[in-house]
Structures are given as structure tokens and as C-alpha cells.
Amino acid sequence: MKFEVRNGTCGYGKNTVLKAVSLTVEAGEVLCILGQGRRLFLNQFWDS
């Protein structure tokens, strides 16, 4: 299994939240994503 995001740009409508993200995860790997602002995300998106 190989999962890959290549040069991914994502956001909402015309607003870009993340630019040029590339990552690869293969079977047996744990990829950990760290960064600021998690509560803001969760309140704004998942709980809305």
C-alpha cells in the first residue's frame, strides 16, 4: 500500500488553507502531522 498526496492545494471555495503539500504513507508507517490551530479547525469545521 502506498498512499500519496502530490503538490496538494486545498481549502474552501476560493480560500486556500494549505498550499503545495506532498506526503507519502506506506504500509506499516505512522505519519504524524503537527501544527498550530487545531481547536480552531475542529470548532470551525468538524463541529459545525
Binding site: 498526496v5 505519519l31 502531522i33 501544527g35 470551525q44 469545521f45
Partner: protein, 232 residues
């Protein structure tokens, strides 16, 4: 100016809930953007933070919901689905929770049930949104050790976290997000540094080598982050 760092946005894109504005999502070299939601759910399991649903479902019913992606629109889970759910229950050692009411079990137990629900999808990749958030110390380590076992069983795992220590303990690699992009990516000990944590979180941190070997990789020494709280 970017107000968000994008972990959840990235997850929504990975799960196909949000179409990427640019770029490619591939599984084994195949374009995933052409797959339906059900097809994506057969490959990727998503585990949200533990929460209380509005109805007091039994744990076994919550776990069986993971089979939805494999069922027809009007079908309900059959014998084969129940067998898969029971196997997952045993693999996570949560048989004692099987007939309990989901809303009445602890946060750590809920997180294990949500992991079980995702595993019944028979995914190849698990996406976990801060699986240890709001858990006490013991439950954090319990959930993390299960995540480690799942990786050893051959699943790929993408996990958002707010604990650099957890990345040192269990991850094979790390991505740091800042200002709408990747700040750094690579092996945990190369990426998580006193400098990068200062840049990311705005706090002074000392990273110490513990002399203890990592569960994830016996050749790796576990490091811990100590916040330096200078009185000002």
C-alpha cells in the same frame, strides 16, 4: 494571512470530502479523485475525536456502522459483517465493551470503539484526527499502543497530533504545518527540534534524550520535549 494551519482541511481532502484545488491523490499509483465516497471508504478509515452521539447506541452497533461502505443503500449488516465486527473486537481486546452503551463508556474506551468501527471497513489506510485529545495519560498511551500495533499489522496511518512527544514515541515520519504550508517534513528526530518547536508554537522547549528505546523502532532513542517556562 493564513489563520489555519490546515490539518483538518488536509484530512477532508484526503477523505474526498473536500475536492483539492490542485494536486494529486493517489493510492498505489491510481488516481483517487475518480473514486466514489463508498469506494474511498473501503480503502481509507477515518477516526474522529471521541464524541457523544445523540442516541445511546450499543457499542456493537456503533462498530457495525463501519460496514456501511460495503453495504447496499437499503441493506443492513449480515452475518459476514457481524463476524468481521466480532473479529475486530477481539483484535482490540474490547469484548468487555461489546454490549455496553457507547455514551456511558470512558473517553479512552470510546476512542477504541471508533478505531474498531474504522477497522470493520477493512481499510488499508487509517486517518486519525488527534486520537489522544481529551484522554487522560493512561488512555493516551493505551490508544497509541493500539495504533502502533495496527501499523505493525501493515496498515498505513496518518495521525494529527498536538503532542510532539507522541511523534517521537510512535511515528515513522512527521510533517510540521505552518502558515498554510509544510514547514518541515521527515524523520521525527530531524524535524522536531528546539528551533522548529519554537517557530511552530512560539514557546521555548528543551528536547532531552531519555536513553529509552522506542517501541516503534528499537534502534531509535525516545526523546521528550520539556517546556522552559521562564518567568518574565
Amino acid at each position: 494571512m493564513y489563520l489555519r494551519t490546515g490539518k483538518t482541511t488536509l484530512f477532508k481532502s484526503i477523505l474526498g470530502l473536500l475536492k483539492m484545488q490542485e494536486g494529486f491523490l493517489e493510492l498505489d499509483g491510481k488516481d483517487m479523485t475518480r473514486l466514489s465516497r463508498a469506494q474511498i471508504a473501503q480503502v481509507i478509515g477515518y477516526i474522529p475525536q471521541a464524541h457523544n452521539p445523540p442516541f445511546p447506541f450499543k457499542v456493537i452497533d456503533v462498530i457495525l456502522m463501519g460496514r456501511t461502505a460495503h453495504l447496499g443503500v437499503f441493506a443492513s449488516p449480515g452475518e459476514k459483517d457481524e463476524k468481521i465486527a466480532e473479529e475486530v473486537i477481539d483484535s482490540l481486546n474490547i469484548r468487555h465493551l461489546r454490549d455496553k452503551i457507547y455514551t456511558e463508556i470512558s473517553g479512552g474506551e470510546k476512542q477504541l470503539v471508533l478505531i474498531a468501527r474504522a477497522l470493520t471497513q477493512k481499510p488499508r489506510l487509517l486517518v486519525m484526527d488527534e486520537p489522544t485529545a481529551a484522554l487522560d495519560f493512561g488512555n493516551q498511551l493505551l490508544v497509541l499502543s493500539h495504533i502502533q500495533k495496527l501499523a505493525k499489522m501493515g496498515l498505513g496511518i496518518v495521525m494529527a497530533s498536538h503532542f510532539p512527544d507522541h511523534a517521537f514515541l510512535y511515528s515513522s515520519k512527521v510533517i510540521l504545518l505552518k502558515s498554510g504550508g509544510i514547514y518541515a517534513a521527515g524523520h521525527p528526530s530531524e524535524v522536531i527540534t528546539e528551533r522548529s518547536l519554537k517557530d511552530l508554537y512560539g514557546v521555548n522547549v528543551k528536547i532531552l534524550n531519555t536513553g529509552v528505546q522506542s517501541d516503534a523502532n528499537k534502534e531509535r532513542e525516545v526523546k521528550v520535549c520539556i517546556p522552559i517556562l521562564n518567568a518574565s
